[in-house]
């Protein structure tokens, strides 16, 4: 074996190179303050490998992105974990590159000749954010879609931003090109730039050495000097192990990364950016209207300019310069932490947001369950086609919505079906059946209206209760006493029974109301509403008995019944 190593070594010189690395001197001693570049290397390798793995299952197009991510997350072995680790790894990138900058700032390691390492570290923070910005929309779920929508909107509001948006988005609208471009930036452009910067920063450290902690005398720093191996190597590996353990624990604790419902450009969503953008998000909320550029451009621009010029500020101002840099950095950190915390606390206490979030989660879960059957290639939202309700709604739209209205949509030639045959619906009908909402636009005009001077509110309540009792729907709890009062009114005072029979099968001038509003009753109406015991010859509603299957009719009837909010009897 040994000769193989010798053979390789003779040609590569790697062992000597490694020895050179191991022998490098760490002036002032080893410490966690020098470990961040090593952790970044670890994270970079992790993210690169996981990213390649994810791309085995991810399809970067607007029509496929969500479905392929759902497949990866919910069906592929360990897919949820790989995606979750990659997601949390992105957060770690932001944290560790931020700590790297802070560690350099702490020992004033931006001073001559370390300026370029400082710049590279700053750029890596920016790139970590860019990784998040381009990576989070890739699943093309509601969260990702609306986040990038807002972020590109901000870009567009800057001078020259419209062109940038158009190029990043691949046109005027979000679509296949947008997903592919974001993916290309995320998976090819940023890693190459980031890798190059990281290598450059490490090269700079090698050339100029690490900076010992401030306040250490030259003699003391020299006395504490160690070699990279074993001292700093040990700290580096420890820091990597801690990072790795935290990421694994975080991934398991959060069950990976959330996948919301597929992106739907017509369904609004209360998107919140990732935690590392919350400070900017909150800042923007503080400067609404014409002042918005302060939050989106002026403040971030000023912070970036301050950090980039820190080495020169300090040099120009001498001893006071260091104070200026420290105070400035302190202010920036306080601002970022404060705004982030404020945003989190505000969202926790925001009931509307929490409600929207809970709804988003349940919709996400529904979509992901439906995705197990396979998603139609038309796009992410096509997953809802797998929903049995969806087919019914489509049937309803095709056959019923032309005449019946539901929740504001539809025709008015036939009774509205929103809340169909609920107590409220029945009350309105009896008060005035000739409203367009009820039978106003049909040929059924025989029934009298019963305004308040003919039937009191109490009497109406009792009568409605009686009708509901005829329905026999267990979801509609009936007050038996009230119903029996209603029955008396029905038979003796209002004489409803002169037109409406209540014994199954018998026909009168009006529809027989036994089982009225129940699923079976609705199904009979759909089959043939012109039967003598239903609406008789005046019925204009088409007969569906021979147009739809029994199953379809039953599904439609169930759907119509489901439009009714079960209400308590008064």
């Amino acid at each position: 074996m040994r000769w193989v190593w010798a053979w390789i070594e003779e040609r590569t010189g790697w062992a000597a190179a490694v020895r050179g690395v191991f022998d490098r001197e760490y002036t002032g001693g080893a410490g966690i303050r020098h470990a961040f570049p090593a952790v970044l290397v670890y994270l970079f390798v992790q993210q690169a490998l996981l990213g390649v793995t994810l791309s085995l299952f991810y399809s970067p197009s607007a029509s496929d992105a969500w479905a392929s991510t759902a497949y990866l997350t919910d069906q592929v072995t360990m897919g949820w974990f790989v995606r979750g680790l990659h997601y949390h790894g992105a957060s770690a990138f932001v944290v560790v590159s931020g700590l790297y900058v802070l560690s350099l700032a702490a020992s004033a390691a931006y001073r001559r000749p370390h300026e370029l390492e400082w710049f590279a570290a700053l750029a890596m923070v920016g790139l970590s954010l860019a990784f998040g910005l381009t990576g989070n929309p890739l699943p093309w779920d509601q969260q990702g879609f609306w986040s990038i929508q807002v972020e590109l909107g901000i870009v567009e509001s800057t001078p020259g931003g419209a062109a940038i948006r158009n190029v990043v988005q691949g046109g005027d609208e979000m679509g296949n090109l947008s997903v592919l471009r974001l993916f290309t930036i995320h998976a090819f452009v940023l890693p190459i730039v980031f890798g190059a910067l990281l290598a450059f920063a490490i090269g700079q450290r090698r050339r100029h050495g690490v900076t010992p902690p401030l306040g250490l005398s030259e003699h003391e720093a020299a006395r504490r000097t160690v070699r990279y191996a074993p001292s700093q190597l040990f700290v580096d590996v420890l820091a990597i192990a801690i990072t790795s353990a935290a990421l694994v624990a975080g991934t398991i604790a959060t069950h990976g990364s959330e996948l919301y419902a597929p992106a739907d450009p017509v369904e609004a969503f209360q998107a919140r950016p990732e935690w590392y953008f919350l400070a900017l998000y909150k800042l923007r909320a503080l400067f609404e209207g014409p002042l918005e550029p302060i939050a989106t451009m002026v403040a971030p621009g000023a912070v970036a300019a301050f950090l980039i010029t820190a080495p020169f500020i300090e040099r120009a101002k001498g001893r006071a310069g260091r104070t200026l840099v420290v105070v400035g950095l302190g202010l920036v950190m306080t601002g970022v932490v404060g705004l982030t915390g404020w945003s989190i606390v505000a969202d926790r206490g925001d009931e509307d947001y929490q409600k929207a979030l809970a709804q988003a989660h349940s919709q996400a879960q529904r979509a992901r369950e439906l995705a197990f059957k396979g998603v139609h290639p038309q796009g992410g939202t096509a997953v809802f086609w797998n929903d049995p309700d969806f087919k019914v709604k489509l049937l309803f739209k095709e056959h019923c919505l032309g005449c019946h209205t539901v929740e504001g949509f539809g025709g008015d030639e036939a009774p509205e079906l929103t809340d169909y045959s609920s107590r409220q619906w029945l009350r309105g009908l009896i008060r005035d059946p000739n409203q367009p909402r009820y039978f106003g636009n049909t040929k059924h005009d025989d029934m009298d209206a019963y305004p308040e001077d003919s039937v009191s509110d109490e009497q109406l309540t009792a009568t409605v209760e009686y009708i509901v009792s005829l329905m026999g729907d267990p979801a509609m709890a009936v007050n038996p006493e009230l119903a029996s009062t209603g029955k008396t009114l029905w038979e003796d005072e209002l004489e409803c029974n002169s037109c409406h029979e209540v014994k199954p099968g018998e026909s009168g001038d009006g529809p027989n109301l036994s089982g009225h509003g129940s699923k079976a009753w609705v199904a009979r109406v759909i089959r043939d509403s012109s039967r003598a015991d239903l609406f008789g010859e005046a019925a204009e509603m088409p007969t569906f008995a021979d147009k739809l299957t029994d199953e379809e009719i039953d599904q439609l009837a169930a759907y119509v019944v489901s439009l009714r909010e079960p209400s308590e009897s008064k």
Partner: protein, 181 residues
């Protein structure tokens, strides 16, 4: 480790280095395993599950009158198919050669058992020919010449007065025995 020590005892340094290095290597390997392991599982996922499927049902091939002639007729078979994350409705899942054999309708897969090319019918020779590596098959599907390790795979066929239906299946190529793919 002080500077004096570093200069004074290189042997001590080497010893500590070896110790720390092996520890670091182990911890580092464990850290890398936390992501490399799951990544391998994802990579190997297709070994553990089916990633695509079509229904194992008889698929309509056409009316019986379509196959009344003497020559084999190629029919495309359509079914709903699950392909990874997609479910596609009524896509072509495969084709079959259908012909009369001793008064009975039979169906043969169009996939050459050698390396999976599509087999053609040569009306002049009255035989099937695989255009890729020149395997010749008789009308009953048996190999006459060429590299194919077995005859064309017969497919289950069901016919009544109205409809001819075929159960489409894929088999492993390159082996002498017929095995489900």
């Amino acid at each position: 480790l002080s500077r004096d020590n570093r200069n004074g005892s290189e042997v001590g340094l080497e010893g500590r280095r070896t110790f720390v290095l092996s520890g670091a290597a182990m911890i580092g390997a464990a850290a890398v395993a936390t992501f490399a392991g799951p990544a391998l599982a994802v990579l190997a996922d297709p070994l553990m599950r089916r990633t695509s499927s079509s229904p194992d049902a008889f698929l309509p091939a056409g009316k019986p009158s379509l196959f009344s002639g003497d020559e084999p007729v190629k029919v495309d078979l359509f079914a709903d198919k699950v392909d990874g994350w997609n479910r596609v409705e009524q896509v072509k899942v495969g084709s079959a050669w259908v012909m009369r054999h001793g008064g009975k309708l039979v169906a043969l897969s169009t996939i050459c058992p050698h390396l999976g090319c599509g087999v053609d019918y040569d009306p002049n020779a009255g035989k099937f020919l695989c255009p890729c590596h020149k395997s010749w098959f008789a009308l009953d599907g048996s190999v006459e010449s060429g590299p194919s390790p077995r005859g064309l795979d017969p497919l289950e066929l069901k016919a009544d007065d109205q409809l001819v239906a075929i159960r489409y299946r894929r088999y492993k190529t390159g082996v002498a025995e017929q095995e489900p793919a």
